[in-house]
């Protein structure tokens, strides 16, 4: 039933860091002469301490990548920045050639590595729909057939004959995506385009892509940092790490594996001696840990997971009224809460603390904890900023909306509807 439409064998891509080639004709010819004719080494290699150092450092952006994509499959590609995701998409879209390996496939490919490719600022929206459509590989008849649909989807009907340079950036992006969304290739390659536009438009785009993959049975390759979108759209996922495939298979398990590897390190901070520990003469924080209450340790904390923060610090002052605050910040630096401990008198020595945040309280997103130590609840002793960083994954059941859920908190307070009988 499902045929293989893309088969990649041993794809590798080598990039040279720094300037590629020498940039000057004279040196290049000298190089060629020395290397090919005289069989010498590059005469312009730097020689440092008697050792030759190659001045053009080579980096494998991809190394021996093998994979197959079946017809109608949606494959998500995830990984850190610089893991080789974009290089892989560029090879598949025939923009760059692999250094080694071969990709074979069937069907028409359209790739969307950027919105608004080929737009001409001076020309009207109407002209640009045609230009962009043609560049992405649509035929004239196809564009004519879909023209009204494209204009309607973009929502810029009133300005369709205005030069696009007078568009707001939002209108520009909407028009550009509208063209792309109406492509009907056999294989669609998409890179991060959903990072644009407002929440409403993102929802529209994801919906359109969902239709494309689930209803029209189109093959999709999708690179995104929006793991929620990958989770919802893609059945299979590929995790690229430093040019190698780290994991592949079922999207849910790959995404979980990726997330847990990503965050495990920042969930605990422990120091063995007082001198290493962050702090000052008054306070030294020796240990902080975030413990998510998970049923399966391989999973990542999502919005349902209760979280416990444990910490231990050394108090260097005798007989002071001490209190600690646990603050939660968003990535953008807004404080969500500030939980204080009860002020009390402490002797010099170790003090331990613990706080548990229940599940179904925080929304999905990236957060950080800060620990704040105060004397007499007024003067600051030490503030350990961003001591723990963590992500909360999304979790939804029977909800057909894939955009970002609004708000910093997502409490599970009951909201009850009652139908009124006339």
């Amino acid at each position: 039933m499902s045929d293989i439409v893309i088969q990649a064998e041993n794809i590798s891509k080598l990039y040279h860091l720094g300037t590629i080639g020498s940039g000057s004709l004279r040196r290049e010819m000298q190089l060629w002469w020395e290397r090919k004719i005289l069989n010498n080494e590059d005469p312009n290699q730097y020689i440092r301490g008697g050792k030759k150092i190659d001045n053009t450092e080579a980096v494998w952006a991809l190394k021996n990548i093998d994979f197959e994509v079946k017809e109608g499959e949606a494959l998500g590609i995830i990984g850190h920045n610089g893991a080789g995701k974009s290089t892989l998409l560029k090879i598949l879209s025939r923009i760059v050639k692999p250094t080694e390996g071969i990709v074979r496939g069937r069907g028409r490919i359209s790739s969307l590595l950027e919105v608004g490719t080929g737009f001409h600022a001076e020309l009207s929206g109407r002209e640009n729909i045609f230009i962009c459509g043609h560049i992405l590989g649509m035929k004239k008849t196809e564009i004519l057939k879909k023209f009204d649909e494209i204009v309607e989807f973009s929502g810029v009907e009133a300005f369709i004959d205005t030069p696009v340079k007078r568009y707001s950036s939002g209108m520009y992006v909407r028009l550009a995506f509208a063209v792309a969304a109406h492509l009907e290739p056999d294989i669609l390659i998409i890179d991060e385009v959903l990072a644009v536009g407002d929440a409403d438009f993102q929802k529209k785009c994801l919906g359109k892509m969902n239709d494309a993959s689930k209803q029209s049975g189109r093959t999709i390759l999708f690179v995104s940092h929006n793991l929620q979108a990958v989770n919802n759209l893609c059945s299979k996922a590929l995790w690229l790490d430093k040019g190698n495939i780290r994991a592949r298979g079922n999207t849910k398990s790959v995404v979980n594996e990726y997330l847990s590897a990503l965050h495990k390190n920042s969930w605990i901070k422990e120091f063995s001696t007082l001198n290493e520990a962050p702090g000052n003469d008054l306070i030294r924080v020796l240990y902080v840990e975030l413990i998510p209450h998970l049923d399966d340790p391989n999973n990542v904390p999502d919005i349902r997971t209760p979280l416990t923060v444990k910490f231990r610090f050394y108090n260097a002052s005798d007989n002071i009224v001490l209190s600690t605050d646990l603050l939660l910040f968003t990535l953008a630096g807004e404080c969500i809460f500030d939980i204080p401990s009860k002020p009390a008198i402490y002797e010099k020595g170790m003090v331990e603390g613990e706080c548990t945040i229940p599940g179904n309280f925080l929304n999905d997103g990236s957060y950080s904890f800060t620990l704040h130590f105060a004397r007499d609840t007024s003067s600051e002793l030490f503030s350990y900023e961003e001591c723990l960083m963590f992500d909360i994954a999304d979790y939804r059941e029977s909800i057909n909306w894939y955009g970002k859920w609004w708000g910093y908190v997502r409490p599970d307070f009951p909201l009850v509807l009652n139908a009124l009988i006339k």
């Binding site: 004709l25 050639k97 692999p98 071969i102 001076e122 002209e127 230009i131």
Partner: protein, 288 residues
């Protein structure tokens, strides 16, 4: 194309992406499927060129007109180059029209990679489509200039200062074709080189300026001294200008042998240019 059996039997792969592009790998079928794009690019460039301008496409006329006036003043009135019985205005306009065709095609085609780096790194289509669209745009602009030339020609024809011969005039078509070919082939080769070595772009401007003096744009070959004839003979463009002027005015020396040399040179340039461009275009994306 290759076939590889899988568990469902044999699969016909429709495309392959391999590390190297061969010299011969030019698919006309693929190019044909992009004719809509070619058309649209020409349209876009033409419209874009004159959007929000005062004179619009009349700019294509203004440039040769002003150049002709300067040439007439400098070369004919000040330096005193004789154009015989031919009005200096028409004499220079003929030369400049053909020269513009060559220099614009050569210069604009050679910018194919350096000006479209953004586009080329985001989407795939045969890169030569952009070069072809440049070629068509320049031919379109040349058409406008040719109209100007024809209007001027008719004007002097009515005044009785030049004569008319249809058979002779048809010569302009092969001349235009050969000139276009040399400019396009050279432009393709230099587009690859300028992508790699950016400084070559300014070199091209210089080459074009120097080349103009070697071509009989504002003089005839008969004015070239014996000692310098070799320069005329190795320059594949020189006979084209003589033929072009001959087509309109019936003056100047024409040489079939030299025209054949130009034709062979043109064919070689186009073939090598296309192959070189095609071979290198995939690699250049890494450099751009």
């Amino acid at each position: 194309m290759s076939e590889k059996p899988n568990k469902l039997g044999s699969v016909n792969w429709e495309w392959e992406i391999k590390p190297e592009t061969s010299w011969w790998n030019i698919s006309l079928i693929e190019l044909y499927s992009y004719t809509d794009l070619l058309q649209q690019l020409v349209r876009k460039d033409f419209l874009g060129l004159y959007q929000q301008t005062l004179l619009g496409p009349f700019w294509a006329l203004l440039q040769p007109l002003l150049t002709v006036l300067i040439y007439v003043v400098v070369f004919n009135n000040i330096i005193g180059i004789s154009t015989g019985s031919v009005p200096p205005f028409l004499f220079n306009l003929i030369g400049i029209t053909l020269w513009n065709l060559f220099s614009e095609i050569f210069l604009q085609t050679s910018k194919t990679f350096s000006q479209n780096a953004d586009l080329f790194s985001k989407v795939y289509f045969p890169r030569i489509i952009v070069a072809l669209s440049t070629l068509w745009l320049q031919l379109l602009l040349f058409g406008i200039q040719l109209l100007l030339l024809i209007v001027a020609y008719i004007f002097f024809l009515i005044k009785g200062e030049v004569d008319f011969n249809l058979g002779r005039l048809l010569l302009i078509f092969p001349v235009i074709a050969i000139t276009t070919g040399i400019g396009f082939g050279g432009g393709l080769i230099f587009s690859v080189l300028t992508a790699k070595y950016r400084d070559l772009l300014s070199l091209i401007q210089l080459i074009i300026r120097l080349l103009m003096f070697v071509c009989p744009v504002f003089y005839t070959l008969s004015m070239v001294p014996e000692k310098m004839q070799w320069l005329v003979n190795i320059n594949p463009l020189s006979s084209l200008f003589e033929y072009f002027r001959f087509a309109f005015l019936g003056m100047g020396s024409i040489d079939i042998l030299h025209l054949s040399y130009s034709t062979v040179f043109m064919l070689a340039m186009v073939c090598f240019g296309v192959m070189f461009f095609n071979k290198m275009s995939d690699k250049l994306i890494d450099v751009l």
